[in-house]
Symmetry: C2
């Protein structure tokens, strides 16, 4: 199962994955999901927003237990972020059948579309549309780097964009959602545990900084006559690092677009994206406010204009306490093993975070020995992945037979 | 003539030109050149390196007087850089015919291919190949941003890449080359003159700085665990500005490529290109050496690796003194006007600079009221362009009848 998915959308140059929403690589991943569902005799469906579902039992009965994650990737991403949760979902179902587990609630496996936002710049589009956190009007305005809109991309991939929108009936059928995910830090590695339970997702967001100056010849324009936006961009990158250090947060400028981007041309536009996250809202406000204030001063000093646009934002997400405690009980007690399952926070956003406002939601993390993520070097040991499947099976059985 | 060329390769979004070597826009410019030559009954030819020539008289007679420039552009460039020299060449020929001028030397008009280097990263490819300053082996290694090699691009545009290489016989036929160009600074505007004569081209070059770190998740990777190459890039951009200020030179980071360039990914690679120029070699060495030293310190401090590659370099070019004095005599004396023609240096590279090692070469500059160049805002007043054509006609007549 894992072996069939591994080559899909992998770049031979970087070894990383380029599974962007509604591209041919994404379609291949979706075909893989459908085949896995059908091979197990599950009821398959694609919902109005392009999320894929596979059902054991009738979801219309309600109070369903759902697990899953996403199959798309960041640019040159790793093999585990997303796919581990979907593959583990199918593997846990296989394990439950092997155990002869008797489930009284419907069990669903989901692949949420466009979780990473690599193509349209907004993460968790599939789950945001379903919950209504992203409106249809907002979705219509999403555009990729080639000027293709989200509806156009959906249509090109064979999904009818007319159907998109909130899906409260579908959400109402879900009694619990559990997402398994490779850890994207080193907390489990440092504590020596294979599996963890999420406590909360840090508040996080993306801000676009547009520094506009004046394009001019790099060889003949006197320094005093320049309005070079690259200088204030550079100062802002360094300011973001300082502000994050002071607040114990993270802040990153990882994406940039420059116009005209010529070797011998002073740029007219330097557009940088700030990603920032912190343990609480006040710290995040301090970081982003500090970066923006510094950027405005630098831009003014270099004769550049600055626009700052918040492109996305997710407040702190506290996962459902009752469900979290139930997972801890299932994993700590009934299994009879000495598996210790710590509870930890995370700086990464997930579909589980989007759903948590509407559905009791929890997350399981699988140890990542280096903490590296969003890179071809992202990794989880086979033993730990197997422990993850087993823990997920325990959780699903424990929830679905209650 | 000018009106026909204006819409070719112009972006409706930016208003700037995107006439990159061997693209459809470049082919359209070449068609325009050929039609101008043929409409005037000139002998047209494309040389082995894709430069276009239009001849009045037989170039095989030798000691030809040649004028011209280039038609390609930087990304979102202006209308004048290059085209003004080619259009003025045809217009000057028309003026000479109108005057009934009797020329004893062959007169040539040239459009050098790929002067800006916007596509393959090396400027003046057409003239460099012709003089041998760029070898065939080096040319075969030139690759654009999509991985297309120069020979592949030539072939796709209908030019046989097998023919490229040095062309000493062609150079031997040229007795003098004069390139007219819009000024790319404000010296003429500040002195109040319409036309200037070039003294020298500053030594200049392009250096590629590859900062390599480790791709990782921007939300979950602790600051202390990061190897973020964007930080050392940012510090280096600021160091370049400081070094240039200290040396009275110019230094610019105007082009950047980031991998994976995702909003929520710490970059694995930040590649920045430094363009630097100074009045003399020692100053240039000081600037570039200082920037590289600072960059290495910053990279080491942030756990990044740094490679610095000099991608192109042109030593100081002193134009032929005898020809320069002859131009000053022609423009200052015979015309009977009170046109004052100052002599000035320039930080911009030109095909004239490449040719000057092999052929007596001179340049005329036309006033640029804002100094803006390599931008849609690049401009020269119609009166000044007409004065440029008239001055060029005087120079060509003065040289070609001697």
């Amino acid at each position: 199962m894992w072996a069939e998915l591994l080559p899909v959308g992998r770049s031979s140059a970087s070894g990383g994955y380029r599974r962007y929403a509604w591209t041919p690589a994404d379609t291949d991943c979706r075909t893989w999901f459908r085949e896995q569902a059908e091979a197990r005799g599950l009821t398959y469906e694609t919902d109005r927003n392009g999320n894929q579902w596979a059902w054991l039992g009738d979801p219309a009965a309600g109070d369903a237990v759902v697990t899953g994650s996403h199959l798309d990737s960041v640019p040159d991403g790793g093999a585990f972020d997303g796919p581990l949760g979907v593959v583990s979902a199918f593997a846990a179902l296989d394990e439950l059948r092997g155990r002869g587990a008797r489930l009284t609630r419907p069990l669903g496996i989901v692949n949420f579309g466009d979780e990473e936002g690599a193509r349209f710049g907004l993460a968790c589009v599939g789950s945001r549309l379903t919950t209504g956190a992203l409106t249809v009007e907002q979705a219509h305005r999403l555009t990729d780097g080639d000027g293709i809109t989200l509806p156009q991309a959906m249509e090109a991939a064979g999904h009818d964009p007319e159907t998109i929108g909130p899906d409260p009936e579908r959400l109402a059928r879900i009694g619990a959602f559990v997402e398994l995910h490779v850890e994207q830090g080193r907390a489990l590695d440092l504590s020596g545990d294979r599996i963890g339970i999420a406590s909360a997702i840090w508040p996080h967001g993306r801000w676009r900084f547009d520094f506009r100056g004046e394009a001019n010849h790099a060889g003949t324009t006197r320094l005093a006559d320049r309005r070079d936006p690259m200088l204030s961009y550079a100062e802002t990158v360094l300011a973001a690092r300082r502000e994050a250090e002071l607040a114990g947060a993270v802040a990153t400028f990882g994406k940039i677009a420059v116009e005209p981007n010529g070797v011998n041309a002073i740029p007219s536009l330097v557009r940088g994206w700030l990603d920032s996250r912190a343990a609480d809202q006040e710290s995040l406000d301090t970081v982003v406010g500090g970066v923006e204030k510094a950027a405005r001063e630098y831009a003014a000093a270099h004769g550049a204009d600055l626009d700052v646009v918040r492109e996305s934002f997710t407040p702190v997400v506290e996962f459902d306490h009752a469900l979290r405690d139930e997972l801890a009980r299932i994993l700590g007690g009934d299994t009879g093993t000495d598996l210790r399952v710590p509870v930890l926070g995370t700086g990464a956003g997930h579909d589980a975070g989007i759903l948590s406002g509407r559905v009791p939601t929890a997350m399981l993390f699988v140890r990542n020995p280096t903490g590296v993520s969003h890179s071809p070097a992202e990794y989880a040991a086979e033993d730990d992945c197997v422990a993850g499947v087993s823990a997920l099976a325990d959780v699903l059985e424990g929830l679905a037979r209650t």
